[in-house]
């Protein structure tokens, strides 16, 4: 049952977005998120929608994949929307008993919904077109400057990529232990939340023991292969900008300027 969880939602396709350097995509996503929270009028929405539609088309990823992420936040969306709708003070346009819908509430609720939905779609596009490995590589390279502030950027990136490799293995193992314990009469389904938590002990203990054992083995295997930290390491697939990436940067910049202009002028 646990095996159904998939990690990283990369969707392989042959598109310009897939080929783009992950650093460009990370930067673009950042700018996009900032823009989302900058605009507050209909022109901004239209402009960002236009940009988003272009990117969606470019990515060659089916739209249904992008809105998958929405399912998990739909409750949050509804709750936040309702709160915004009814609890924002201002000019009243309708009322149900003690609940009032105001002009401002309507505006806030729709703005917030659009922002959240666009946020999910936008970040999904990034994760759908970038492999987890590229993503960690991109993060490592983009944040390299932080090493000067004693942030262990290489180590964090290494931890992320090892986690990516081992999460499926540990999930499989959890599944196995679960079945083994169920065969011995363990019960993971019934009872209230406290009983359930206590029933997890026979699952978690062996899982932790095994995870530590794996970590120890892996550390030795890495050392045996001369791993020595980030210093002096070369890369099999180094990130290198090509003209396509430079153009993308320019495009992102121009789009951002337009957003700011729209915000200031209108």
């Amino acid at each position: 049952m646990l095996r159904d969880i998939t990690l990283g939602q990369y969707y392989p396709a042959d598109s310009i977005l897939h080929k783009l350097d992950p650093r460009v995509k990370l930067f673009g996503t950042l700018i996009y998120i900032i823009s989302l929270f900058l605009f507050d009028n209909i022109w901004g929405i239209l402009w960002i929608t236009l940009a988003l539609v272009c990117v969606v088309r470019l990515s060659k990823v089916p739209f249904s994949f992008m809105i998958r992420g929405l399912r998990s936040i739909i409750i949050l969306l509804i709750v936040a929307g309702v709160f915004n709708l009814f609890l924002t003070p201002g000019q009243e346009i309708a009322s149900f008993g003690i609940f009032k819908i105001t002009m401002e509430g309507l505006r806030n609720a729709s703005l917030m919904t659009v922002r959240m939905v666009y946020l999910i779609i936008g970040t999904s596009i990034m994760t759908l077109t970038t492999t987890p490995n590229q993503l960690t590589d991109g993060l490592e390279k983009s944040l390299h400057g932080l090493t000067k502030l004693n942030v262990p950027v290489h180590e964090i990136a290494m931890m992320m990529s090892i986690a990516l490799r081992f999460i499926p293995i540990l999930i499989e193992e959890t599944d196995k232990i679960m079945k083994a314990q169920m065969a011995r009469g363990a019960d993971f389904e019934s009872g209230n939340i406290f009983q359930k938590a206590r029933n997890m002990v026979p699952l978690l203990v062996p899982l932790f023991v095994s995870a530590f054992r794996r970590a120890y083995d892996l550390a030795q295997a890495m050392e045996a292969r001369c791993y020595n930290g980030g210093e002096g390491r070369t890369k099999m697939k180094p990130l290198k900008y090509v003209s396509r990436d430079r153009n993308a940067y320019i495009l992102i910049f121009v789009a951002f300027v337009v957003t700011i202009v729209l915000k200031v002028v209108l």
Partner: protein, 285 residues
């Protein structure tokens, strides 16, 4: 000087209590002398806990001698300056294939070692190609290791070591977690590397059949090297082997039992073929 030269090698594990006082000393490797020549295929046998893994980890400087000396390719393993050099010279493959593959793509995992020692990008690609082809895993270069069989994963691990261009590979029970097909796959790959590339192989195993093809065998028990010789010499002495809680290959066992019950067979028969020939010879005379 031999390629690997251990003299009076001792390794002690200390067990300490919470206050860091030593409560127990366990001598896992006890006064071992061992010489291995370059290009040899060596097997190390021994019952559980006899110190094989501990010895193997010295060859890769994951452990250093408590006393005695160890030279690998002329370099002193006790000298910290040589650590990375020796690790490059003598690569190590471990038992559990899952716990030694670092990257989520086969080719990137093979590149991990060369990346660590600062090999330039172009050369990394060449090395990855060469090593993956040498173990027959080139077609899987873009796969995720999670989707490979145990034997395939272990071959990837071997390729990962090969990519560092070592002179020697130490394999610590590389087939223990594999099915018979996987075992054969891995063993064939290792023999091929030994023959075609002249890589010195040190194979630790519990499977007597895997020992038959090697040049020289060491048998360990309780930290000591208790027997050494060619596979034929070792397996001729079934009695002593049993004393050290070890078996012999099934065919050797069969020949041994036949001999005990009066069939006139030579000692140390290792393969089916040999047994067949010996029996045929008896028949003809």
């Amino acid at each position: 000087m031999s390629f690997i030269e251990a003299k009076n090698l001792v390794h002690e594990y200390f067990r300490r209590d919470e206050n860091d006082n030593v409560v127990d000393i366990l001598t896992a490797v006890d006064n071992v002398d061992m010489n291995v020549e370059a290009g040899q295929f060596i097997s190390i046998l021994g019952h559980n806990g006899s110190g094989k893994s501990t010895l193997a980890k010295h060859l890769n400087v994951l452990l250093t001698p408590s006393s005695g000396t160890l030279f690998v390719d002329g370099k002193d393993a006790s000298d910290e300056k040589n650590t990375l050099d020796i690790r490059q010279t003598a690569g190590m493959v471990f038992q559990n294939p899952d716990n030694q593959i670092i990257a989520s793509v086969v080719e990137e995992d093979v590149a991990f070692g060369p990346e660590n020692i600062g090999v330039p990008t172009d050369e990394i690609w060449q090395r990855v190609e060469k090593s993956l082809k040498a173990v027959g895993m080139w077609d899987y270069r873009e796969h995720s290791p999670n989707k490979l069989s145990g034997g395939q994963k272990q071959r990837v691990a071997i390729a990962g070591v090969m990519a560092m261009e070592p002179k020697c590979i130490v394999l610590d029970e590389p087939t223990a977690m594999l099915d018979p097909d996987g075992r054969k796959e891995v063993l064939d790959a290792v023999h091929e590397l030994n023959k075609k590339k002249g890589v010195t192989i040190i194979l630790i195993t519990h499977y007597m059949e895997e020992v038959v093809g090697s040049d020289y065998v060491f048998v360990m028990d309780r930290g000591h090297v208790v027997m050494q010789g060619t596979p034929r010499e070792i397996f001729s002495d079934v009695e002593t082997l049993k004393e050290h809680r070890l078996d012999v290959p099934q065919i050797t066992e069969l020949a041994y039992e036949l001999k005990k019950s009066g069939v006139d067979l030579p000692d140390g028969i290792l393969t089916r073929q040999e047994l067949l020939e010996a029996l045929r010879y008896l028949d003809e005379n």
